[in-house]
């Protein structure tokens, strides 16, 4: 447990003592702030639904940047061998990197709470969909980070890892469109692989437990395969 805590602190420092994290957060807030104010001024709607969908897409693009270096960087710097020969398990290494990446996501979501506060100041927003939207984004990000981490474990090159996870994310974003063309029962199977299908219910405040289960299971699958991929290296 102590080694896991030490690894987690190391990973958190690696993220938050470099300017990259702040650049990512600042750009994220700039884009989202602009989107939010523009949507608010044009539509006059006291809702964050459009913002949630925008963040959903933004996560598909930024998570590969966050996760690409997690293992591939260690490999490039030849610190991975040192790490794996130390008395720490693969589970600790993967989980510490995973939690550190998730903390960056959590900070981004926390700062975006300024939009909900703005709505509360000027109007009476419906808090149910706002809370469920944030929960959906957190679950969505947890699945993305696990899959991105797996890509980083599988290849040595950071760019290849980023492109690999980005391609997979984009496929899982739009796969439901393909699913509707398939015959029964493959259509249901493919449609339910779509991140967007499962995320939409959270954003609108009409959520199903199976959607939460989908993201949890994808995250656990990604973590499990990452642990095995790292171990086999």
């Amino acid at each position: 447990m102590k080694t896991f805590a030490a690894l987690l602190v190391k990973e958190e420092k690696a993220i938050f003592t470099t300017p990259i994290a702040y650049v990512v957060i600042a750009v994220f807030l700039l884009i989202m702030g602009y989107t939010f104010t523009l949507t608010l001024f044009m539509s006059h709607a006291a809702s964050l639904v459009h913002v949630f969908f925008q963040i959903y897409v933004l996560f598909l693009l930024t998570v590969p940047i966050i996760t690409m270096r997690l293992i591939a960087e260690e490999r490039r710097l030849r610190t991975l061998e040192v790490l794996l020969t130390a008395p720490v398990s693969e589970v600790s290494v993967i989980l510490s990197k995973y939690l550190a990446s998730m903390s960056l996501i959590a900070v981004m979501l926390l700062l975006s709470g300024a939009y909900a506060i703005t709505l509360a100041i000027f109007g009476q927003p419906d808090w149910g969909p706002i809370f469920s939207g944030y929960l959906g984004l957190l679950l969505h990000a947890s699945a993305l980070v696990a899959v991105g981490l797996l890509a980083s474990c599988l290849v040595s090159n950071q760019i290849v890892a980023a492109v690999m996870s980005l391609s997979l994310f984009l496929l899982l974003w739009i796969i439901d469109k393909l699913g509707y063309l398939l015959p029964d029962p493959f259509n249901a199977l493919v449609v339910n692989m779509s991140f967007l299908v499962h995320f939409r219910t959270f954003a609108t405040g009409s959520l199903f437990l199976s959607d939460a289960g989908f993201f949890i299971s994808v995250a656990l699958l990604g973590l499990f395969l990452s642990i095995r991929a790292l171990g086999q290296r």
């Binding site: 702030g33 969909p129 959520l207 289960g213």
Partner: protein, 519 residues
């Protein structure tokens, strides 16, 4: 040791949730417990799976690994199918379809006498079944709210006795009065129907016409109810209902008055010598031409015998010397030009004056922002003994006047009155006290601006105050428009600066500090 403990805890949790689910009374609760069991079981499988050896000392080690990966995918697939088959839905929307609308809650809470509702619903209609459930839940909580739901297809005899032929018709009965709302799943309509039944009388609002008022064409211009598909409209019955009507018309105001049991009719100025007794309130909304001396006499006589008058004048209405003299008798003045407010205005349009604060008055209770597009200035020139006058809405102290042709009129005017309410004895008369509300704007009541934040509330509350209508709670009028959040120009500037400039800049600066220290 800790790993073992975690595994035992997860096993106990999974088992406990599964047993609780099996013994749950209803399916939804059971499914929530099963979800807990599902999460614990999946975590337990994960905790056990990460201990599976990475390699086997066998030639078929590759097959072993492929098998593990396939098994992992298989377990996840089966777990999701199982969860999908025992799913539960949560409506977390504040004004969700399974929640009574605030209008109905307010009316039900304030009932002092029994009200009987009979809902002839369509069993095949999801929204109607939901409305039935919500009404039954209210009846469970409120003793004066008596409710029964009848399936129209099965209860044809009762339906015939009631004269109901349309699905989803609500019949409201109280104290010998009755109202019907045909074909509705929008429970706000039910709230207004209850209020209509309880008000017993139907106050008549007479709209003065003959000077180019928009009410002249209210029955001649085409308008219709429409429906817009939005995320909210999908969830809330009636949430996407809108009106397609000319922006300069007053159909929204007319419907809002009808919903609270008022009757409106035209009062053709050139044809009347006195305001009829059935007029509870007389409204002159947006005249374009000056009154004749005879019409002036009609209005003065009406006020002198305790009339209830609402005058709403846009800047292009010519105020004749006779009208000016009449208003001066009670201390009022109507100025010329358009009020410009550089501080409080809607979005970037300085001639759409926004009023966020009001003095205490029955009309201004619970009012939020009101927006006066192209208002003309009013002035409380003199306090007349026996008349209580209140400036209900005024501009900021930086406001000034502009002529209709665009030229600025003089320097800064300070706060300019936009709405003034008066109540008291007409000078020289000793009869019934009159009530008068003078508004320096008529556009506020037109279809285009009636839905803006509290504009509709202000106009309806004014008419209700003039009619001395204190029966029942004050409900926000249905404006048949999508819910919107309106900001003043200043609020927009602050929002943009904080969210688009300061917040990202603060994070970037923090990053810069971190980078500098690492150097």
């Amino acid at each position: 040791m800790i790993e073992k403990l975690i595994q035992v805890v997860l096993f106990v949790l999974a088992l406990g949730f599964a047993v609780a689910g099996a013994f749950s009374a209803d399916e939804d609760t059971a499914n929530v417990f099963y979800f807990g069991a599902w999460c614990a079981a999946l975590l337990l499988i994960f905790a056990l799976a990460i201990r599976i050896p990475l390699y086997l000392r066998l030639p078929a080690s590759g097959v072993w690994n492929a098998g593990i990966v396939l098994a992992a995918f298989g377990i996840i697939l089966l777990a999701n199918i199982a969860l999908y088959r025992h799913d539960t839905h949560f409506d977390v929307t504040l004004s969700g379809r399974f929640t009574a609308p605030p209008e109905l809650e307010t009316v039900a809470r304030n009932l002092k006498t029994d009200v009987h509702l009979t809902y002839f619903y369509n069993e095949q209609d999801d929204d109607a079944r939901t409305a039935k459930e919500v009404l039954a839940a209210i009846a469970h909580k409120r003793s004066h709210f008596r409710f029964r739901a009848l399936d129209l297809d099965k209860e044809v005899v009762v339906a015939r006795d009631y004269g109901v032929q349309v699905y989803n018709t609500v019949v409201v009965e109280a104290e010998g009065h009755r109202a019907e709302v045909p074909n509705t799943v929008d429970l706000r309509e039910v709230a207004f129907a209850i209020q209509r039944v309880l008000s017993h009388k139907n106050p008549v609002v007479c709209f003065f016409v003959g000077h180019g008022e928009p009410y002249e064409t209210v029955d001649r211009t085409h308008w219709h109810l429409s429906h817009v598909e939005t995320l909210q409209a999908r969830d809330v019955p009636g949430g996407g209902d809108t009106i397609e009507a000319p922006p300069a018309g007053v159909q929204r105001l007319k419907l809002a008055l009808e919903r609270i049991g008022y009757v409106d009719r035209a009062l053709p100025a050139p044809m009347v010598t006195a305001v009829p007794n059935d007029c509870a309130v007389v409204v002159d909304l947006g005249p374009r031409r000056a009154y004749t001396p005879e019409e002036m006499k009609v209005l003065e006589n009406y006020l002198a015998r305790g009339g209830r008058l609402l005058l709403m004048y846009d800047p292009d209405f010519p105020v004749s010397p006779e009208l000016g003299a009449l208003l001066r008798k009670i201390g009022l003045e109507v100025g010329d030009g358009v009020v410009i407010d550089p501080v409080n205005h809607y979005e970037a349009e300085e001639d759409k004056v926004a009023v966020p604060y009001y003095p205490p008055h029955p009309i201004t209770q619970d009012l939020a922002l009101t927006v006066f597009p192209g208002a003309r200035p009013l002035r409380l020139a003199e306090r007349i003994p026996g008349i209580a006058a209140t400036v209900l809405a005024s501009t900021s102290k930086d406001s000034y006047l502009r002529a209709i042709n665009g030229a600025r009129l003089g320097s800064s005017e300070g706060p300019v009155a936009l709405v003034i309410a008066e109540q008291g004895q007409w000078p020289g008369e000793a009869g019934k006290p009159f009530r008068l509300v003078l508004m320096g704007n008529a556009s506020i009541a037109t279809n285009a601006f009636f839905p803006y934040v509290s504009n509709g509330d202000l106009v309806v509350a004014t008419i209700r105050w003039l009619a001395e209508d204190t029966n029942g709670p004050r409900l926000k009028p249905l404006t048949y428009s999508l819910p919107e959040l309106r900001l003043t120009h200043h609020e927009m500037q602050i929002t943009f600066l904080v969210l688009v400039v300061f917040l990202p800049l603060a994070v970037a600066l923090l990053g810069g500090v971190v980078w500098w220290r690492r150097r």
